[in-house]
Amino acid sequence: MRFQGALDIAAPRERVWQFVTDPLAVSVCAPDVQSVDVIDPKQFKIVVRAGVGPIRATFNLDVVFSELTAPERASVRARGQAPGSAVEMLSTMDLVEHGPERTTLRWASDVTVTGTIAQVGARLMQGTADKITQQVFTCIKSKLEAPAATGG
């Protein structure tokens, strides 16, 4: 499944960059996070609960920033498993500056889900993934635009 979109954020590009490449900061916006474990600036482990329809599972995800070209472009690979299911996600983010206080975040994500969740929830998956993605980016936008936002 491929998802993509763009988001206008009323914040300077540098600040957006800091936020989306900081595991602890961006994790706040991921759904149902159980824990975040930063290994080094490019690698972290995150435990999330996710599900489709009636099937919910705890996923252990290994996340790696495979490309970091500050402050323009970042690529992330996340791979993880829950019992009977596995997920693999390759995402890219491009930040385009529109003046000192405006940034466009263009993102694209290729998601492969296998196992029980894909079997049982196939028909519901697209909708669920859309919903989760919306939540994540709405959260990122609101955090960055909040007057007292500190970036984390």
Partner: protein, 783 residues
């Protein structure tokens, strides 16, 4: 005494039903042994991936988990791989790569079933995904990723198999007046027996004795396989006892050896504890052997007048990750070359390529004698395609072409010798029963009103009863079968066979053969199967072989007893043996009916007053090597109405005329036909296991895999003709699979017939409402 005797032709009530309907059947999962432990299996979420690491520590930390087994543990035991019946090998547990979703990755042994499941969920495996191939056509492309690097051949082509006269067939096609061609996909389906697979393995370390209770259709073959595959671990065939208790449906799915069986046996041999493994429903559908999955391109050449001349077939067989089909060794595509069907093609050529994909292994004969369903569906579909092209009535076209009764024994273009048949009689009876002429009139009127109604015919010929030792073996073991009969002093008897009932009613029908042959009432006969310590060696029940092979052995063994009984009777009657004959189920002095002895009197004398010089006792055994296969046939006619709004297919009527030769028990035959028709309706309209591009199973549970229930099944109408098999001792041919084989084409033909006037010639099964609605919309007739 006919009714009490319960001989051949009587609808004797099934003796086994007394325990089944009271819930007193004894299945593998009913076996409970002291100290028994449980095995569960962790399975792969990926369809193709490298295994980087397996971490078992969390599973082992769960109280009650006794052991975790991984592929690497099996390597020193030489059990990580096991041979398949088709000369391939398959993984018991992987050491470095998983090949399909839900493949076994590790096993957990625990004190409780639920703890074992928790243990399986706690095993952490790190995978690196690999490219997935689900389409066998892509698998066969020259640059395709090679899925099986363990093989010498660096290709996803497992084998190429062909038969027939290629040049001769091509020649006829070049010169033919008319040719038709159709691409037909027969999708992957699953037998979905009500009972899933399971085993209890119990190894006695002191005696070195292994006892297994197992859901197997072929217990003797399994015993030999265990001895051959695990002989190096000290398991010898005389110390292995395989018991196949009551089985809740097999349909071919309980012929193969699954990794779970091997793991349970291995766990018991290592621990000395009894180990139980029973699959859950999803495991059964997702990982056990599938059926069908044939991509067929078929062509018929005919004369202008409709006379068929040649048949050309090219097929790709998707076997999944390992070729674990269960065919006789010589036949990688089973008996697919019965595809000339009921018609006297002069020339034919068939070729099949087996392909590996990232799907579960298999290619089993789901209630059909080795790819016969695929063959029957294709030829019966093609006959309708030809009828459409020639604007001929499909019944008329069949009647014109059938192999005629006088032509039997008939040698087909692909080399089979059909034993007997009268195809026209069966079709005419079906047409009369359903009022074919009346239906065609009704259809015409309905078409004028825009209503969509179709009539479909399938006049199939089956090939069952494998098989003659000259051509048929499994792992080198010839496909004979056996029966041993012992008559007790009081005239009762025990009959033991090398086959194994999974619900077919053997305890009744084989008793009826003995009753008929020996004059012992069926109520006085015990039929026992499935225990390798007591039953004579046989190859088991599948491919409708029980009656053609073991049933023949039963009749022959009984006749051996009858012959010895004649000598005893002569002794009792003080007559010359030549003057004693078997008549009206007893021994009589020829021409003096008053001077007679019953089998019961003879049996008593066999132990109390046998002639001097003769061995005491009255028993016999026969290992029957059939001289030929048997060829049951039938004609089915189906009437459907299509809903122009929803696209739903409603089966209004279905008449099935079957000919399985001499019928032993009409009631059981009727039941077999009803079940088979339902299992033929299923793939025609409902069932399919599909895969997405990542190899995710779509249809791996009963939420997504639609089995027909009483809600979907029409009221079947059945009838019979009787054309005995000339070579079978009692003339029987076998009925277990005819309806599964014959029904799908009748239904598909009916749906296509309803749409033929709109230019439709073929729809791949299952014909779902979605597919029909798409056609209705495309043709502008949707409501």
């Amino acid at each position: 005494m006919g009714a009490e005797l319960g001989g051949i032709g009587r609808s004797v009530k099934r003796k086994e039903d007394a325990r089944f309907i009271r819930g007193r059947g004894k299945y593998v999962d009913d076996v409970k042994l002291p100290g028994m432990v449980y095995l569960d299996i962790a399975r792969s979420p990926y369809a193709h991936a490298k295994i980087l690491k397996i971490d078992t520590s969390k599973a082992l930390a769960i109280p009650g988990v006794l052991a975790v087994i991984t592929g690497n543990d099996l390597v020193p035991l030489k059990l990580a791989w096991m041979p398949t019946l088709m000369g391939d090998q398959q993984m018991v547990l992987p050491t470095d790569t998983v090949m399909y979703q839900s493949q076994e990755v590790a096993a957990v042994v625990a004190t409780e079933r639920y703890i074992a499941a928790d243990g399986a969920a706690a095993i952490e495996v790190e995978y690196e995904p690999l490219p997935v191939i689900v389409d066998p056509k892509k698998a066969l492309l020259p640059d395709a990723f090679v899925l099986r690097p363990d093989r010498k051949e660096k290709s996803n082509r497992i084998w190429h198999w062909e038969t027939g006269d290629k040049a001769g067939t091509d020649e006829v096609f070049r010169k033919a007046d008319v040719t038709v061609k159709e691409d037909i996909y027969i999708p992957r389906i699953h037998v979905s027996s009500i009972e899933t697979c399971g085993i209890v393995a119990s190894f006695d370390k002191v005696e070195g004795q292994l006892t297994v209770w197992m859901t197997t259709q072929a217990p003797h073959a399994i015993r030999t396989v265990i001895a051959l595959v695990a002989g190096h671990l000290g398991l010898a065939e005389h110390k292995i006892r395989v018991i196949s208790p009551d089985i809740g449906g097999g349909f071919g799915g309980k012929v193969p050896v699954y990794p779970g069986y091997v793991l349970a046996i291995g766990a018991s041999v290592l621990t000395g504890l009894p180990v139980k493994w029973v699959e859950d429903r999803s495991e059964n559908i997702q990982a056990d052997s599938f059926a069908r999955d044939y991509h067929i391109t078929a062509e018929v050449a005919a004369k202008k007048d409709g006379t068929v001349e040649a048949l050309r077939v090219k097929t790709i067989a998707d076997h999944g990750a390992f070729d674990a089909a269960a065919n006789p060794s010589k036949f990688p595509a089973g008996l697919f070359h019965i595809i000339t069907g009921s018609y006297p093609f002069k020339k034919a050529f068939v070729e099949v390529d087996g392909a590996y994909t990232n799907k579960p292994p298999g290619g089993i004969a789901y209630r059909c004698s080795f790819r016969v369903t695929e063959a029957a569906f294709t030829i019966e579909r093609l006959m309708d395609v030809l009828a459409i092209k020639l604007k001929r009535d499909p019944a008329e076209l069949r009647l014109q072409n059938f192999i005629q009764p006088a032509a039997f024994p008939y040698r087909s273009a692909l080399g089979w010798e059909y034993d007997s048949g009268d195809y026209g009689k069966a079709l005419k009876l079906a047409m009369e029963k359903i009022d074919y002429a009346g239906l065609r009139k009704e259809q015409l009127e309905k078409r004028k009103r825009g209503e969509l109604m179709g009539i479909g015919i399938s006049s199939f010929t089956e090939i069952v009863g494998a098989g003659p030792s000259k051509h048929f073996d499994i792992l080198g073991i010839k496909m004979f079968d056996s029966c041993e009969i012992r008559v007790h002093p009081t005239g009762k008897a025990i009959v033991r066979l090398g086959v194994k009932s999974q619900g077919q009613g053997h305890e009744t029908t084989f008793g009826q053969i003995v009753a008929e042959e020996l004059g012992i009432p069926v109520a006085d006969i015990t039929v026992e199967e499935g225990d390798t310590d007591t039953a004579p060696y046989g190859l088991g029940t599948y491919a409708s072989r029980s009656t053609p092979v073991a049933g023949a052995a039963t009749a022959v063994a009984a006749r051996k007893i009858r012959e010895k009984g004649r000598l005893i009777a002569a002794h009792l009657l003080e007559a010359s043996p030549d003057d004693v004959e078997w008549k009206d189920h007893k021994y009589q002095v020829k021409g003096v009916p008053a001077k007679s002895k019953t089998m019961q009197e003879v049996a008593f004398a066999a132990y109390t007053n046998h002639p001097q010089g003769m061995e005491a006792g009255l028993e016999a055994v026969d290992y029957y090597d059939p001289p030929n296969l048997t060829y049951p046939f039938g004609s089915y006619i189906c009437v459907v109405d299509l809903d122009r709004g929803t696209g739903e297919v409603h089966v209004r009527r279905f008449v099935a005329v079957d000919d399985c030769g001499v019928v032993i028990n009409p009631m059981i035959v009727e039941g077999q036909v009803h079940g088979g028709l339902t299992m033929g309706l299923a793939p025609a309209l409902y069932e399919q296991i599909n895969y997405d591009d990542d190899g995710n199973i779509q249809g791996g549970n009963f939420m997504d895999y639609l089995l027909p229930t009483a809600m979907e099944v029409p009221s079947w109408e059945t009838a019979r003709t009787v054309t005995p098999s000339p070579h079978h001792p009692i003339g029987a041919k076998g009925i277990g699979e005819s309806a599964t084989v014959g029904a799908p084409a009748a239904i598909a033909n009916a749906v296509v017939d309803a749409l033929a006037h709109l230019g439709v010639t073929h729809i791949d099964i299952p014909i779902t409402p979605w597919k029909v609605q798409a056609i209705l919309k495309a043709k502008g007739v949707a409501e």
